[in-house]
Structures are given as structure tokens and as C-alpha cells.
Amino acid sequence: MLDVRELTTSYGAVTALDRLTFSAPRGKITAVLGANGAGKTTLLRTLSGLVRPTHGSAELEGADLVRTPTEAMSGLGLAHVPEGRGVITELTVEENLRLGGLGRSARSQAAPLDRVFTLFPVLSDRRNAIAHVLSGGERQMLVIGRALMATPKILLLDEPSLGLAPRVVGQIFDLLRSLVESDGLTVLLVEQNARSALSIADFGVVLNLGRLVVHDEAAVLAADEKLRHAYLGF
Amino acid sequence: MSMLAAPLHRVSRSTLLRHLAVALIGLVVVILVLESTSTFRNAQFAAMAYLGIAAGGLTVLTGLNGQISLGHGAFMAFGAYSTALLYREAEPVLPVVGVLLVATVVALLVGALVGVAAARLHGPYLAGATLALAVAVPGMAIFFGDSLGGEQGLNVRVPDVPGWFADAVFFLTAHDVTASKYVAYIGWLALIVTFVLLANLSRSRVGRVWRAVRDDEVAAELAGINLGRARVLAFLVSAGCAGLAGAVMAMAVRITAPSGFTLTLSLTLLTAVVLGGLGSLLGALIGAALLTFLPQVVTGVGHDLGLSDVQSAELAPLVYGLVMVLVILLAPAGIVGSLRGWRRSRRETT
């Protein structure tokens, strides 16, 4: 599904991704782990074209992501939930959601909208509120909901649990699992909390200072005592 | 060598001494320049001084405190009209320094009034309000035409050069002091004093608080900063500077009339600030120099190229506008800011 080869990204003198190679299979959740500054966010931003790599390639079902402009990503079926601040605070909750399902008729937006509102009832209560008044967690729900509106083929999630109550985190993870299993969604999940990420992921990629440390099945990683202490912090 | 180093070290550590040292150097440069240039240049330097003072105040407001004012010309008007009222024909009521102080205080008071309202406004709303201020104030001079001279304005007396000053200058340079030169001295002394005070402020707790408010007002408030007070204070300081600048302007131009305080003046100040480099006093000075000398040079070039009067007159705004656009596109941090960035990047690569 997603093939990353020799991907290298730098910010000026800082090399944030260093010849990274891995692939994420279709219909699976791949967790991307690593300490702060390991390059996880940079990986996702490179994949969705927000930053350009200096070297290497990334392909989504054969489509070259490196040369695709960001705005065409959603056309390829890629949705990205950015880290923090992804809500357009000046628009209403519903407008934010509508943006997720752009390009589709109002009728075909109805079903995904319903799904988001069932998943996050708070949002449905506040659908006409300006997103600016939402609490931190409500905003996070909105961003995730918005990504789901696009019914993507591959979902890049950057720390989705940030600021969410444990119960909601659980719900979201459940939903991800069910989408993966029923719709064949592919997920790239960046999480600070490696433990819970590995608990739902199929595979795990561990980064350190922009380099790949290991890439293996989630259960294997979770069981690796040394790895956990060195890189995963649990 | 080491004998020198110790006091030098002390000077560089104390904010006040450092600023005073720079001011002293500035003063020497000013004397050298004013004494070696023609009366006409002296008059131009006087203009540069008042633009510089006002731009210095504005750079503090906009650069350090993040408030945009499109209306500082209005405060200059208050300063200038105070000067005109106090410094007319016959015997002036106050000496020059007194006039400058009163003009500053008047503008300060008005600045406090406007600042209180402005403190609640943001971005374009503040810009809109100050824009309205800039166009409204000249109308007041017409409304109170009986005391403020209406459209025609008030004449300002040419300051008498005090005997001791003329003697001192003659003693040093063997030149007589013309009125233009005297006004230029007044302007530059006022500028140096203002800049030292502004530099003190920006290096102190006050400046730090202003910058904090600019960067994140909620966080600043949580740190115990009274947002309104900080904003009003910044507004006040910069309005005071504008008032002082207006006073110098009145003396240099010898008249204060509503048409001297058009919106263009206010926008010119802002332009000087941004072209020079936001938040930098040196930048404000460079911006002021640019705006003083550029139009005349360009018009001259136009004449030399054989353009008609009207065409070469339009050439000045054309070039001036182009410079604004180009600086913003090529050196968004302004002249000083870009030079600093360039120096830093050179230092890093070597």
C-alpha cells in the first residue's frame, strides 16, 4: 500500500528524516513510535506533501507522493490528521466537517456526517458553534471526525489521543480497528503513548533521530523489553 | 590595554552607560554633519529628525507592542498645534525646551485617551480606528478655526538662536548659526534624547512586558501583566514621541496647517518604520532618512532625464512606492532586520 524508500527530509541544517525505508500494508494499522523529536511528525508531513523531502521516494499504491501537491492528496484517498491546531477555529463545527467531505454532493456527505455525530455526540450538540469555543478535546474530536468524512483509503494520524479522555481514546481506537477490518482502511498512527498504540496496531515502526530503528509486528515490539526501555519509554 | 578594558567592560554592562556612549557618538556625528553641510541640507536634516523621532516612537508601539497605528500623524498635529499656540509672534511664553515638553505632554494626554480605546482593539480594527483618527484630527483645526487658524493654519515663529549657542558654535566652527541650523540642532538633540529613553525602555522590564503582550496576550495576562495598562502605556509613549516630533516639525516648517497632517504623513511614518526594520530604532532612523532624501533625489533624476515637471513629480511617488513593494518582497524584515539576518547567517557559515 504505502512504500517509503530512502526518505530524507531536512529543515536547514537539521536532518529530521534520514534515509527512512519501510512499508505499511493495506488494511493494517502501522504505529510510528519514537521519542520527542524522532521525526514522526516530519514523516507524516512529508508523506502528505507539507514538507518536501530532499531525497528518496514515497508511493501510495504506485502513485508518487513526493511529486504530488498537498491539495491533490485527498484525491488519492489520503487523509492527514495533523498534530494539534488542525481545527479551523473561525468556522463552525459543521463547516469544518463539510470541509472534510469536499467534492462530494451534500447527499453523499450525509452518511459520514451521521457516523461522526454518533461517534462524537458532543459535536452534534455543537454543530453550529464556532469551533473556537470548543474545548481542547472537542477540537481533537473534530479533527479526527473531519478526516473520517473523506472516507479515505489511508489515514495518517498524528497523536490522535492528545488531550482526549481515556474513554474517548478507547472509542477512537475501537473505531479505527473496525474501519480497518470492515473497510480495509490503512492507518499510519503516530503516538507518544507507545503502549496503547501498540495495543491496537498490527505493525510498529520505531524511529530515533530520524532513522529507522526497527520495523516489526506490534506484538513483537511490545514484547521486546530492551527496545521498550530504550525507545518506547515503558 | 587592560587599563582601558575595565571601564569599557563596565560601560558595556550598564545599559545606561552603553546608551549614553552611543548617544555621545551620535552627537559628535550630528555636529560634524550639520557643520559641514549647507543650510539646505541642514533643513533636510531637521526634517529627517522629526520623522525619525515619530518613527522611533511608532516602532516601539508597532514593533515591540504589536499595535498598528495608521494615525500617528494626528499626534504630531497635537504637538505641532501646541507649539504654534505657545510659540507665535512677539515674546514666546516659554523657552524652546519648555515648548517641546508641553507639546510632548499634550500629545501624551491625547495618546492616553486614544490608547484607552485602542487597547481593546486588534489588527485591522485598530488600524481602522487610527485611520479615522488621522483623517478626523485635521478637521478639528478647521472646526476651531478661530483659535487654530482654520485651513490656513497658524504661523510658528522662527526660533531665535540664543547668544550662547551661537557663540559656542562660532567658537567651535567659525560659522554663524542660521535659524535652519539651529532648528536642525534642536531636532537632533530631541532625537538623541528620545532614542536614549526609548532604548532604555525597550531594554528594561517595560519593554519586555510590551513584547510579551505582543506575542501572547493570554499568557501575558496570566503572568500578572495588566494588558490594558501595558498597551495604553506603549501608546502613550509613542504618542508622546509623535507630539515631540510635531513640535520640531512646526519649528522647522514654520507653519501648522491641517493640510500638513494628511493621512499620507501617518502612513509615511509607518512606512519608515517597516522599511527600516520593525522594532529597531536604527531602522526607524534609516527609514526616516530614506523618506527625507529619496523623493528629492528621484525628482532630480527625473529632471535630468528630461521628463516634464509633472512627470518627474510623479516619479518620486512611483519610485517610493516601488521601493516599498520591493523591500517588502525582497527584505521582509526591513533593512536593518535583513542586514542582521545576513550577518548572522554569514557568521554561522564561517
Binding site: - | A43, E89, Q152, G153, I255, D309, V310
Partner: protein
């Protein structure tokens, strides 16, 4: 004025030798005009007229072998700029004299400076009385056109005598133009005035003012405004169905300009200068439309030969008339003109010298006011039809009299140059 004495003594050459701005073969003079900005339309044409006439004179060998170099600086009608460009003209370009500097607030910013630097400040382009009523305070400054107060008086008296029943409304620009003229007008018809409305220059919405006059029932409106406001007031009146008799002061009545401004408006409601037909105004120099006038014929010839692109307009005629007066003054100052010399020559102006002005200048040691009078005309097809002979007067309570000097009937010499012997 009094405080000015302490400035640097001008180092003046000995009598007979040349003065600042004068060389063997040039005389450098300068002026400030609004060439850019809101005041530029119209006014920026004046210096082009002046230049054309100077070029004409230069082509014929100049004055006493000296070519006139005329430097025009833009002040954008902003006194601050006026002060700067005047500094430049006086201190850097070292002009011999300022000729025709335009605007009341703008020129007021530099008049003290010019006098303290002892620069002749000739023929200010403004009708404010301040240029000429106190020659002892401003010995180097001279007006040129009739002052607004005298114009107001002449208009006031005309109305009082010929339209005693009219309910008069005043439409005034809110500056010295409106103020001085109102003073003049009120000397004669204080009682007849039913309403006064003032507009601020730059504010183009005059509907509230015109509506005010309409509401007060004025059936004769005396307007002291600039030409664009003539067009605006006519348009507003049309909108309000307000049809009083209009009397525009000279400054705003350029029928050529206003007519062309109004010409485009639809419905044939306004075409050509027709809307100004029947409007009363005054005249102190012949205007572009008096094609038979010998002066206009001269100006047309000069413009055709030396003008820029564009037609001869009344602004350019104004400029040429003024340039002519300067050449007269320069000739009168003799072969070795000095700054004091030219001032003396203007003070001893000989009213028998032919010139485009319809009434003689008032120049003397006691008055630096310019043209002494004008005649009242009614516009018909864009041309003024004389209603009165040329009437002359002065500020204050000077009487209004018919002019007997014959100024209005003279003609330029064949060469198109003044033919004047040095005075004094």
C-alpha cells in the same frame, strides 16, 4: 517678521553687479505647485502655461540677453512639503525670485522665510489679501489676482443694486477664499442673505450644503468655490431639482472646464456648457473663449509653438498672464537686476503698461495687492457677456468705481514681449 531680523545677513552684491540667481545669460526663478495629489487636477497646468511663455521669451533672446530658467517643484498642496521644496529652491538652487507659488496655506508656510531671506516673492497664486495688505511686514511678497475681499465687494454691490429682492444664499469654501469674500459681500447685502453653507475642500459630498440652501429658500446663490465644486454643486442642484440663479466667483467659473466636466452626463440634461448658461461670474483677465481678444491670440500662438501636449486652457492662460507680468517686472528692474531692484520696480509699476489684466495693478509702496478689479459677466454659450464695465476697488471701505485706465482695451506689442523701460 520682527524675529526674523536675527538670521544671517544676506550677502548682497553691490548695486549694478548681478544678484543671487542671476548670471550673465540666465535668470533662475522657481515656484511651488501641486503637481501630484488631490489638488493637482487643474492647478498643475498653470506652470506649463508659465513655462511656455518663458520659452517663447527665451527664444527671442530672453530679457536683456538672459534666458529665464523656471524651476517648478511639487508640494502636493501640503505646507510641510512647500517648506521643503522652498528650502531647496532658495538654498540649493539659489533662485533669484519665487514667481507664482500657489495656495494660501502652502504659501503661508514659506512667506516669512522668503522675506527673511529677502527673496522676491512675486505674484502669489492665491487671492488671499495677506500677500499684499501689509507690505511693511512682507516687503518682498506681492499678490497678483484681485483679492477675494474686493471680488466679494464688487459682487455684493452688483447684487444689491440689480437684484434687491433676491434671497441670497452663500456657498463658501471653508478657508480664506470663503472668509475674505464673505466679508466683502456682507458690506453690501448683509440683510439679503438667507443662508450660508460652507464645505470643506476635499469633501466631495456637497448635497447636504446645497440642500441647506434650498431649504432656506435662497433663489440666488453666490458661490465662492474651486471649479470642481462648481460642477459638483450643479450636479447636486439637478438632483434636488433646485434651480436658483447662480453667481460663481471667478476662481470657480471656468466655463470651459466646468462645461467639459458636465458634458458627459446623460439624457442631454447637461450638454456642453449649457448648464452654465445664464450663470453670473466675474472676469479679470480674458479667458480662452474670447477668441478675438489680442491677448488670447498671443497666448494661443505661444501655446501652439511652445506648449506641451493638450489644449490651451484657462489655467494655462492664467499662467501665461502671470509670466507676462514677471517679464515686465524683470525688464523694469533694468539690465542688472537685483532682488531689491525688482521689488522696487514692481512697487513703481506703471499702470499704463499694457497687460492682459483688465484692471490696473495696485502695486505701490503701501500696497502689494494685485489687480484692482474686474467686470461682471453672464455666461452665454461658454462666453462671458459683459454686464458691467470694469469695476475697481480695494480692500476695506474703498469705494467701487468704474475703471478709467483703459487697461481692458490694450493689446500686446507685435513681438509678444512687453516693451518697458527700466524704472527708477
Amino acid at each position: 517678521a520682527c524675529g526674523a531680523g536675527e538670521t544671517r545677513e544676506q550677502s548682497k552684491g553691490e548695486a549694478g553687479s548681478s544678484d543671487v540667481g542671476i548670471t550673465e545669460d540666465t535668470v533662475t526663478i522657481g515656484a511651488h505647485f501641486p503637481l501630484t495629489g488631490v489638488a493637482a487636477p487643474g492647478y498643475s497646468e498653470i506652470p506649463t502655461g508659465m513655462k511656455a511663455y518663458f520659452d517663447y521669451v527665451n527664444a527671442q533672446g530672453g530679457v536683456d540677453g538672459r534666458k529665464i530658467e523656471f524651476l517648478v517643484r511639487d508640494d502636493g498642496y501640503n505646507p510641510t512639503n512647500t517648506s521643503q521644496v522652498t528650502n531647496e529652491l532658495v538654498l540649493k538652487d539659489e533662485i533669484f525670485a519665487m514667481v507664482g507659488g500657489l495656495g494660501t496655506p502652502t504659501h503661508a508656510a514659506v512667506v516669512d522665510f522668503l522675506n527673511s531671506e529677502q527673496v522676491p516673492d512675486l505674484f502669489v497664486s492665491s487671492g488671499s489679501i495677506q500677500w499684499g495688505d501689509q507690505p511693511e511686514e512682507k516687503p518682498f511678497t506681492f499678490g497678483w489676482q484681485p483679492d477675494y475681499e474686493s471680488e466679494g465687494k464688487i459682487i455684493g454691490q452688483y447684487v444689491a443694486e440689480n437684484m434687491p429682492d433676491a434671497k441670497v444664499g452663500l456657498f463658501l469654501q471653508d478657508d480664506d477664499l470663503g472668509r475674505d469674500s464673505e466679508k466683502g459681500v456682507r458690506r453690501f447685502l448683509d440683510k439679503q442673505i438667507v443662508g450660508v453653507e460652507r464645505y470643506t475642500s476635499g469633501n466631495t459630498d456637497v448635497a447636504p450644503q446645497i440642500a441647506g440652501l434650498q431649504a432656506k429658500g435662497a433663489d440666488l446663490v453666490l458661490s465662492f468655490n474651486t471649479p470642481s465644486y462648481t460642477a459638483l454643486s450643479q450636479l447636486v442642484a439637478m438632483k434636488l431639482n433646485y434651480k436658483p440663479k447662480w453667481f460663481y466667483a471667478n476662481i470657480g467659473s471656468d466655463p470651459n472646464l466646468v462645461g467639459s466636466l458636465l458634458s458627459k452626463f446623460s439624457e442631454g440634461a447637461v450638454d456642453g456648457a449649457a448648464p452654465l448658461d445664464g450663470v453670473l461670474t466675474t472676469e479679470y483677465i480674458p479667458g480662452v473663449d474670447s477668441e478675438d481678444d489680442p491677448w488670447i491670440q498671443l497666448w494661443q500662438k505661444v501655446w501652439d509653438e511652445y506648449g506641451d501636449q493638450g489644449d490651451l486652457t484657462n489655467y494655462r492662460v492664467y499662467g501665461m498672464s502671470k509670466a507676462y507680468a514677471f517679464v515686465q517686472a524683470l525688464m523694469a528692474a533694468g539690465p542688472d537686476p537685483t532682488r531689491e531692484g525688482i521689488v522696487d520696480a514692481v512697487e513703481q509699476w506703471d499702470t499704463s503698461w499694457p497687460g492682459p489684466e483688465l484692471a490696473p495693478f495696485r502695486f505701490s509702496e503701501d500696497s502689494h495687492l494685485g489687480i484692482s478689479g474686474m467686470r461682471i459677466v453672464e455666461l452665454k454659450g461658454g462666453v462671458g457677456k459683459e454686464l458691467t464695465p470694469v469695476l475697481v476697488t480695494d480692500i476695506g471701505d474703498a469705494p467701487i468705481e468704474e475703471d478709467t485706465s483703459g487697461q481692458s482695451d490694450d493689446a500686446p506689442a507685435e513681438s509678444g514681449l512687453p516693451e518697458i523701460e527700466p524704472v527708477g
